[in-house]
């Protein structure tokens, strides 16, 4: 669908929903992959807010982004249970293999690396998530092979 029409449709759908700004932003990101900056004035108008307020909300939440992410997002759990089970090594390895830090995207646009704090998979730490799939008891060999698959554009999720 034409992006303008899609946006208009979403704005219509969430207009008038109590506390609807966050669900609207999430819906936009779901469809566009990110929240286009150009859409902020229209969002603000429909939600009866200032553009600054909308920006304030977008910047507060780790999930929301205003720039396109890589084709895949690799989330490594950096919280305590995973640390206890070898997660710190995975954090280091992922950055080293991808050559980027957390919050960054590889030059080829294949992978965005993100830190998350607990995936609720702590009985089988350490964990990582790609799309809606979680992996458990991850070691560096599994991490390496998952990264290789992401890079070769195989769709995992």
């Amino acid at each position: 669908m034409d992006p303008q029409r899609l946006l208009a449709q979403l704005l219509c759908q969430y207009e008038g929903m109590p506390g609807g700004l966050l669900p609207l932003l999430q819906a936009i990101q779901e469809d566009f992959g990110f929240i286009p900056r150009e859409s902020v004035p229209a969002i603000a108008q429909v939600m009866n807010l200032s553009a600054a307020e909308v920006h304030g909300v977008i910047s507060f939440y780790h999930d929301l982004r205003t720039e396109e992410a890589g084709r895949h997002t690799l989330q490594i759990c950096c919280a305590e249970s995973c640390q206890a089970a070898g997660g710190r090594a995975l954090e280091a390895r992922a950055q080293e293999v991808l050559g980027i830090g957390f919050g960054e995207t590889t030059g080829d646009g294949a992978v965005t690396l993100e830190a998350v704090y607990c995936l609720g998979n702590c009985a089988c730490s350490p964990s990582l998530r790609i799309g809606n799939n979680t992996w458990a008891r991850v070691d560096t060999a599994l991490l390496d092979s998952l990264i290789a698959q992401l890079r070769s554009a195989e769709v995992l999720s």
Partner: protein, 508 residues
């Protein structure tokens, strides 16, 4: 007679390969008559996942952990020789790991397809709500109060008192909000409940709505739980269609609508007032209290905010009575204790036991020691704001008061085990870094103190004037404890100080 095969659809079960086992199973059973594959929730014995259960002639036995390669070897056996299989576990509830538990809130978890309403009803589901809709509001609140139920989200506040406040508050617009943000590392009880027994939460929320006079409820679910979202979304629709939500629930004159909302990756949104801000569509900034949410909560209206497990527990209290609930537990910790064994642990999972068991018993009896095989050195209880406990404190009974007496906190029941390779200075640093990352930024001691805390610990780790810097760290902790608006800044000193106090050798 149909043979039923159960293979869970739970997040952790899937993360350890349950989907490929399910695929292998359905391929192997293709064309066979009288077989069904049930995608149940998990029972919470995650160390046994993927746990395959087979039910024939009313007898249900388990095998686990099962890999794809094991599937044909299990299917080749019949009822007479299956016990010889190396992964055979027998009837799962009789397994020692379960036999030592007292399952109440998690009694149904893993038994059925979580979305099967008939199965929920067959296990006394919605009995509590059916009972509640015909009672005066005050009687429901009394029942909850007499049960002694305390909030399971961390602060252990009596649920009955909160409900009474909202019931008595003026105005006819009120809300029930379920805190499903479960941000603490080492916890997954809320997730397991939502994925394995979602109707129990729905029932508890409807009971709360009827009790306080709220017609609208919200579940605020963290975005890290996509499977829970999927299950809840469908469960709400089915409960609505069956008349347990919406207008005139259970053929009464009571109404309760329920909406699912998604968080956006902010730990602070687990704090109830930040959660309400977020639900209203704003930045998740903590509100000063008073006013309490019970007086002025969501959209300024009286609001019950309770944790998933608190709300779920009210369904069995209303079904079986306050006395049955209060008969479990001891002193001021009534009912059952839900703990989650996590971190470096051999047999990780959800354990529901009577209050009063010690950490040592838990780790040894249920946890089976570390997964690495090395000695346990530290145990963090109660999430990222909880203390690191050394061996000398592992005999403390697990109840709210006893834990507080040793400077610890039960919180949401997360138990994260570390072996002897842990560097406690790094863990202290992480506590401060996490606070800096997740602070809502409203007050200086938390926002700035945590950033300073990281710097100071970095200097300690680099052995720069360690004594002065340790003193400085204590001063910072004092300030954060004394002057933070909420427990994020106020309790971050817990893990930091416990690391300093109990593991001083890691700091010099």
């Amino acid at each position: 007679m149909t043979t039923r095969y159960f293979i869970p659809r739970d997040t952790t079960a899937l993360a350890v390969g349950a989907q490929s086992v399910a695929d292998a199973l359905s391929q192997a059973l293709q064309g066979q008559e009288d077989v069904t594959i049930v995608r149940n929730g998990s029972r919470g014995a995650f160390w046994l996942e993927p746990l395959l259960e087979i039910e024939r002639n009313g007898e249900r036995v388990g095998f686990g952990p099962v890999s794809v390669a094991d599937v044909p070897t299990i299917l080749a056996l019949g009822p007479s020789d299956q016990a010889g299989h190396p992964l055979y576990l027998g009837p799962v509830e009789a397994h020692p790991w379960f036999a030592g538990q007292q399952r109440l809130t998690f009694a149904r978890a893993g038994l059925d397809d979580p979305l099967c309403l008939e199965a929920y009803l067959a296990r006394h589901g919605f009995d509590g709500l059916e009972h509640a809709v015909h009672l005066p509001q005050a009687d429901i609140v009394d029942e909850i109060t007499r049960s002694g139920l305390r909030g399971r989200g961390g602060a252990a506040f009596p649920a009955g008192i909160k409900w009474r406040t909202v019931m008595e508050a003026a105005g006819d617009e009120k809300y029930v909000v379920c805190n499903a943000d479960e941000g603490d590392s080492g916890t997954f009880a809320d997730r397991l409940l939502m994925e394995a027994d979602p109707y129990q939460l729905i029932e508890g929320m409807a009971i709360a709505g009827v009790a306080v006079g709220a017609r609208q409820g919200y579940i605020y679910l963290r975005s890290e739980y996509p499977h829970a979202w999927d299950v809840l979304h469908k469960a709400i629709a089915k409960a609505e269609a069956a008349g347990y939500l919406g207008e005139g629930i259970c053929d009464s004159d009571k109404h309760f609508h329920l909406e699912l909302r998604l968080g956006a990756g902010a730990y602070i949104c687990g704090e109830e007032t930040a959660l309400l801000e977020s639900l209203e569509g704003r930045r998740g900034m903590v509100r000063a209290k008073p006013p309490l949410p019970a007086h002025q909560g969501l959209f300024g209206k009286p609001t019950v905010v309770n944790n998933v497990l608190t709300l779920a527990a009210t369904s069995s209290i209303m079904a079986d009575g306050a006395e049955a609930y209060a008969a479990l537990g001891a002193a001021r910790s009534l009912g059952t204790l839900t703990v989650q064994l996590a971190g470096n642990i051999r047999r990780g999972g959800l354990v529901e036991v009577p209050y009063g068991m010690s950490l040592r018993e838990l780790i040894e009896q249920f946890g089976g020691g570390t997964r690495s095989g090395r000695p346990v050195r530290a145990i963090q209880v109660g999430g990222p704001l909880g203390a690191y406990l050394p061996e000398s404190l592992w005999d403390t009974p697990l109840d709210y008061e006893a834990m507080a007496a040793v400077g610890g906190m039960l919180g949401h029941g997360g138990v994260v085990v570390f072996d002897d390779t842990v560097d406690m200075a790094e863990q202290a640093r992480f506590a401060m870094a996490f606070c800096a990352q997740e602070s809502c930024g409203k007050c200086t001691p938390c926002r700035v103190g945590s950033v300073r805390g990281v710097e100071v610990i970095d200097r300690i780790i680099a052995r720069e004037e360690p004594e002065q810097n340790i003193d400085l760290l204590h001063d910072l902790c004092d300030t954060m404890e004394a002057a933070s608006l909420c427990a994020m800044g106020g309790l971050t000193p817990h893990p930091v100080r416990s690391a300093l106090r109990h593991f001083p050798q890691d700091f010099n």
